[in-house]
């Protein structure tokens, strides 16, 4: 015990002596947590729209102002011909062309139907898709508005209509940040814990201090505990800072219990740190460790359900995500923070992550050889 206490004191001393590392540990996550959710936004805005209005009627004016007023579109050009507007797409100034035919208003009123032409630049698939869909729904809305004015609806609808109204739960205004911030926080905690622990033992190997440690009677598990605990504490601090930032910058208050959250993160960090330690036992240089960690971190993040939903992945990828601890962390973060899930709800996640922690740490201890 005395040895462990002393090992811990030594580790903390070394960590806090390296000013660059300390500021990185605390500063980097904060910056990322403030920058990333604001920048990495899935909502498509500022779609550049070129309008070719052959009608120039009050209706066409109404339609255009309705589209622009939606906030998703920016009027990039008001052109005389489609050819002219297409030039804008070619020079990448416009993403969409809305062509309003001649006699738009007249035909709409008289013949009760009209056609609009929408051309989409599909190089950026997401933008094109969403832009097209937005425009479509705005036009449909416009159309419904006109119907209301023109046609007096009968008392009873002549044919039955099922109207679907969606009600958004847990994130009522579909705020993207509410969804992404807990995920990013999970990733940050993983990065801090994983990288630091992986690099630490390897550093001792590189400098040669491990040689001196290995001839001492220190027991393997004491040595590894001495490496685990400091980073466990640091990652917990980073997590707490993250929660505070989420509260005051994004106004995200965990709906569920903080206790459940901290219980889960406590176990989860053991998994992450165990993984880092395992990597470090296989590597001889910090470069090797860095590359391996980077490889796995990329996989963990991209297959963790942070940016893309796991449900929409192919089946083989879904199988891989089952072995990804980050996936469980992101899920639990969203469950507890947004949905207010309790301990019973996250119990399966907790079980899996605990199992991973046991396996990874056990493997790391077995694989750390004092003799070769």
């Amino acid at each position: 015990m005395r040895t462990l206490r002393f090992l811990l004191r030594k580790e903390f001393r070394q960590i806090f002596r390296d000013k660059a590392i300390v500021s990185l540990i605390f500063f980097m996550p904060m910056v990322q947590l403030i920058l990333m959710p604001l920048a990495a936004d899935y909502e498509v805005r500022n779609i550049n729209l070129a309008v070719v209005d052959h009608d120039k009627s009050s209706y066409s004016q109404k339609l255009i102002s309705k589209v622009v007023a939606s906030g998703y579109f920016r009027l990039a050009g008001y052109n005389q011909s489609f050819k002219e507007a297409f030039g804008l797409i070619e020079s990448d100034e416009a993403d969409l062309i809305l062509e309003i035919p001649q006699d738009f208003e007249r035909n709409l009123i008289r013949e009760d139907k009209q056609k609009l032409f929408v051309a989409v630049n599909a190089i950026n698939g997401t933008k094109a898709n969403l832009g097209g869909a937005y425009l479509g729904s705005i036009i449909a809305d416009f159309n419904a508005g006109i119907r209301m004015q023109l046609v007096r609806p009968p008392k009873f609808s002549t044919f039955p209509v099922i109207e679907v109204v969606a009600s958004n739960w847990f994130n009522p205004v579909l705020n993207y940040k509410v969804f992404i911030v807990p995920g990013i926080l999970a990733i940050l905690v993983t990065m801090v814990g994983g990288f630091l622990s992986a690099l630490n033992i390897v550093r001792e190997k590189e400098i040669g201090t491990i040689e001196q440690i290995n001839v001492t009677p220190i027991k393997k598990h004491i040595f590894i505990l001495g490496k685990l605990i400091p980073f466990w504490v640091l990652a917990n601090i980073v997590f707490t800072i993250g929660l505070i930032l989420a509260r005051f910058v994004y106004g995200i208050v965990p709906v569920g219990s903080l206790l459940v959250l901290y219980l889960f993160i406590a176990i989860y960090l053991l998994t992450v740190l165990g993984f880092g330690l395992l990597v470090s036992t296989f590597c001889d240089t910090q470069q090797q460790a860095m590359f391996i960690m980077f490889f796995f971190m990329m996989l963990f993040i991209l297959l963790g359900g942070l940016f893309t939903s796991i449900d929409s992945m192919p089946d083989w990828a879904k199988v891989i995500t089952r072995f990804n601890p980050v996936r469980y962390m992101i899920e639990v973060m969203r469950m507890v923070i947004l949905k207010g899930s309790g301990l019973m709800d996250v119990l399966p996640h907790l079980g899996i992550v605990s199992l991973m922690a046991v396996v990874l740490n056990g493997w790391a201890i077995l694989n750390y050889k004092k003799t070769n």
Partner: protein
């Protein structure tokens, strides 16, 4: 009583299916008595560090056995780790901890305190104590060695392993270092030290000359020198290169090689006359020729053994 007994240990690195690997230690046996200052003398790559790493339980031998203080290096590695002190060739203390913190750390790791064994390190520690709040990474080479020695000594080891402790240290510090070793020997600590410097060999009680993983000779430095079979001559002339060439072509020559500003040479004929050689060398166009009969050194013995 013997502190260290090594029996036929062999170690090969990187042995695979396709390659035979590198034979680092080849069937080595030796013993070191309690309280003895034993030297492993040999060039770089001779296998000194591998022997050290096996005796300090960091490396498992392929075959053979060895004991340190009666503990087997494979089965009783725990006991060995708590009783020996090891100072690796490469400085391997925490560079970002201060002198005092390093010493304190290693004392605690071995379950002791600085105060308890201060008498052992006092002579050495007083020299670095004024800098005790300085980080180890900022120390000079000599101070680093002293600190490393303190850390290896702080748990009162029965046996001290010093792997090339004076490599890269200035001559004055080297001399001081060997004086410290003598004082430690007086404390009844068995010391086994490796060095590539032949002049340090003479300071050991007994030495083993090793080369290519094999022990060439084990004895006291005096006896190794005395057992040099022939009379050795130091020859000097105005041009070293031509002198060496001339010596090699001399009919009665046995061995000749450059040794500092002299060439050392031995001759087959026991009744060899220096005048004959001098006449020969002058005949070869060399001037200011000087020939002296000298005592062999460890290095001469080593060179003889290598050939």
């Amino acid at each position: 009583m013997e502190a260290i007994v090594v029996k036929n240990i062999t170690k090969t690195y990187g042995k695979g299916k396709k390659t035979d690997g590198t034979l680092a230690v080849d069937n080595v046996s030796f013993t070191v008595g309690k309280g003895e200052l034993f030297g492993l003398i040999g060039p770089d790559g001779a296998g000194k560090t591998s022997i050290f790493r096996m005796l300090t339980t960091l490396l498992v031998p392929d075959s053979g056995s060895a004991t340190v203080d009666g503990h087997d290096i494979v089965s009783d590695f725990r006991q060995i780790r708590s009783t020996v002190g090891y100072m690796p060739g490469k400085f391997s203390l925490y560079q970002d901890l201060t002198i005092e913190e390093n010493l304190n750390f290693f004392a605690t790791v071995f379950g002791t305190t600085i105060e308890e064994n201060y008498h052992l390190i006092r002579d050495i520690y007083v020299q670095i104590e004024p800098f005790k709040t300085r980080r180890a990474g900022k120390l000079s080479g000599g101070m680093k060695q002293k600190l490393a020695l303190c850390c290896a000594l702080i748990h009162k080891p029965t046996t001290l392993f010093l792997d090339e402790p004076t490599t890269g240290v200035d001559p004055v510090s080297r001399k001081e270092f060997w004086e410290m070793l003598k004082r430690l020997k007086a404390q009844d600590i068995t010391i086994i030290v490796s060095t590539p410097y032949m002049d340090e060999a003479a300071l050991c009680d007994r030495i083993a000359l090793i080369q290519g993983g094999k022990i060439l000779s084990i004895d006291t430095p005096q006896r190794i020198v005395q057992s040099y079979p022939e009379q050795l001559f130091a020859v000097k002339a105005n041009e070293m290169y031509r002198l060496l060439q001339a010596l090699e072509n001399y009919p009665g020559i046995l061995r000749s090689y450059a040794f500092g500003e002299y060439a050392h040479a031995t001759f087959r004929d026991p009744d060899f006359k220096t005048d004959d050689l001098e006449a020969y060398l002058t005949g070869q166009g060399l001037t200011s020729v000087r020939i002296e009969a000298i005592e062999a050194t460890i290095e001469d013995s080593f060179i003889k053994l290598l050939n």
